[in-house]
Symmetry: D2
Subunit: 205 residues, 4 copies
């Protein structure tokens, strides 16, 4: 197989990219000037040495001498709340909302509802260790399981709650999950019963 | 114009029906047996005499001697809470959720965000009258504005709150709106900042 | 069940209408004035007596004393070509294109590719009878099978060709199918091989 | 801005990639092992030196010592027909159909219907030169303008026909365009009048 198709095959492994778009990427690169290509090559080549996994929350961040990301290193953020998210982009969405100033932990995935062996790929051990360390330090009060409102997210929240409950009891920690209700744009007519029930329970007075 | 197109033109006025589907409806009726057509004619013909608007909540209901619908006539439902919805289908969705046993009021529409003259078509006067009557009776404690989480719904809730606030003050009524948060199926990554903020605020512990 | 839901159930039988839209139709009728409803009732009630099936091509048409539709009764249309379509709306599409001035026959359906017993519901017998009559009269030269370019359409064309071939041989009739090629809006890049092959074969010089 | 976002910005320039998917690509690369990344870097880095533009048809092809691509170098392909396509992927689609064994020319784009200055970016000069050379050699008989059946494609075909007509007259060349008709999957009911007209004209007997 030739250079064209070998590169197209690599692009096919990118998330959401089918064979047609993979080829289109190669044609796109063929049509670009060599400056773009060398910049792309340089950026991909140094990506993994430029970016590190935070030693505390496990998110990816730009290396700057510290083993900790900005949120974990920031002394002004509260240690009382720890938000657990499935992946980096979830953390980004929360940060963007500007509504949280505590600490984070990135699980690295969810526990699928329909799989036997759980806690294999996600960082549940690391979460327990971190929680225990923070609980012992006496600053942590609440763990917020910020998972998506879908089957895998809910299953993951259930499993994490079980795993964390001994520590939560021992150190009197609260374990919370995100509030359910009408999300922006939701029409009442099309809302499912669970959403309506939560929206009524969480009504703001 | 002939019978075919005249009937197709009537179907085009049905909600969500374009010219093509309107014609398809006519072909469908031509292919059905006369029993179906006479049943359809009979049902449409008696609809407005069979169905009445409830004298209290204004929803449509099957006439059965009483001027009130089942929910308004039911002595076991609480008079303490009144849910205000835009339309009948919103009320159906709440009833289906089984999470409310108070009373209802159907506005008959929303107040569009971008229109000048408000409260023209919707039953805001009737709502104020009903609220006042129920408040005077001393049983009503809370009005829940159950509008959709979109611009028109939010604008309507804002306007209703203004209209109702004098009565609410006078009779110490609470005015609430539906809780915001992740609705069923929402992925955290794609949630907007307002939804995340609400989901954090309404987190269940 | 009440009048509301009984009427909604009738609307659910309309092509392409689900439970939600069926209910919306009933709410729509409840909100309309009685003039609209009585007009609708009148139009549905007289539909089957106003519209007849053409004695020759079997399409539906407005009754006007003649047992034949306008296209079949028109002495200026050519008897040399007969287009066979699956349904009335296909005939409408061809008429709208203004590119045919011969005669039509409406099969009343297609022969599904994956069903055993063919020619059961469609009017294949009537087609054969009509073809034979027109062929004996000496005016018919070509039968154009105007079926959709999908599996059921192609299967129907194949089956009709088999059924009609004895008559076609006996009376030297041509049997044709619609030309394949790029349809309006088709992009070459996404065209399948069969379409490209036809587009090259049918290229206009 | 950091390495993460700089790389995401480069991916945003890829065809069809928005800001969210661009970020997802970077997270994907962070999660892959270094073997994948170095392979990707190597393939992108050598792409433009591995792939050349064919000296005759202008398509991209894997360099192998010859300035001509396989189709242009193949002595068994006919020189009598020349297909003109807008882009490489159109040529790929025709080759995949296995229905053409002549020569190709890649324009490198189309002439937009709504732009003033035409023939600026596409290789119209090169097409004219190539056509003249092949016409003088006496082997070329037909130019097939294989453009998409959309406004830009049709406009491009019209413009090319004008440009090529002097040479076509001088050397008695035929200029053809792709046949129109029902493309695979087309339903007659939804076909536009132009497609139906072409499908009737190009009917196969």
């Amino acid at each position: 197989m030739d250079s064209f198709h070998k590169l197209a095959d690599l692009f096919r492994e990118f998330p959401g990219i089918g064979p047609r778009q993979a080829k289109r990427f190669v044609y796109f690169l063929l049509a670009r000037d060599s400056t773009f290509l060398s910049e792309l090559v340089r950026r991909i080549g140094t990506l993994q040495s430029d970016i590190a996994e935070c030693g505390s929350c496990r998110r990816f961040f730009q290396k700057r001498g510290s083993p900790l990301c900005a949120a974990c290193a920031d002394p002004n953020r509260s240690d009382a709340e720890l938000i657990v998210v499935a992946k980096d982009t979830d953390l980004d969405a929360i940060e963007k909302s500007g509504s949280f100033s505590g600490r984070y932990f990135v699980l690295g995935g969810t526990i699928p509802l329909l799989e036997k062996k759980s806690s294999q790929k996600i960082r549940s051990k690391e979460l327990i260790q971190l929680t225990e360390k923070k609980a012992k330090a006496g600053t942590l009060h609440e763990i917020i399981l910020a998972l998506s409102a879908n089957p895998d997210g809910e299953h993951t929240a259930d499993e994490l709650r079980k795993m964390l409950s001994p520590i939560a009891k021992q150190y009197s920690l609260t374990i919370a999950t995100l509030g359910r209700g009408l999300s922006t744009g939701s029409e009442l007519e099309y809302a499912d019963s669970e959403t309506i029930r939560s929206a009524l329970r969480n009504r703001s007075k």
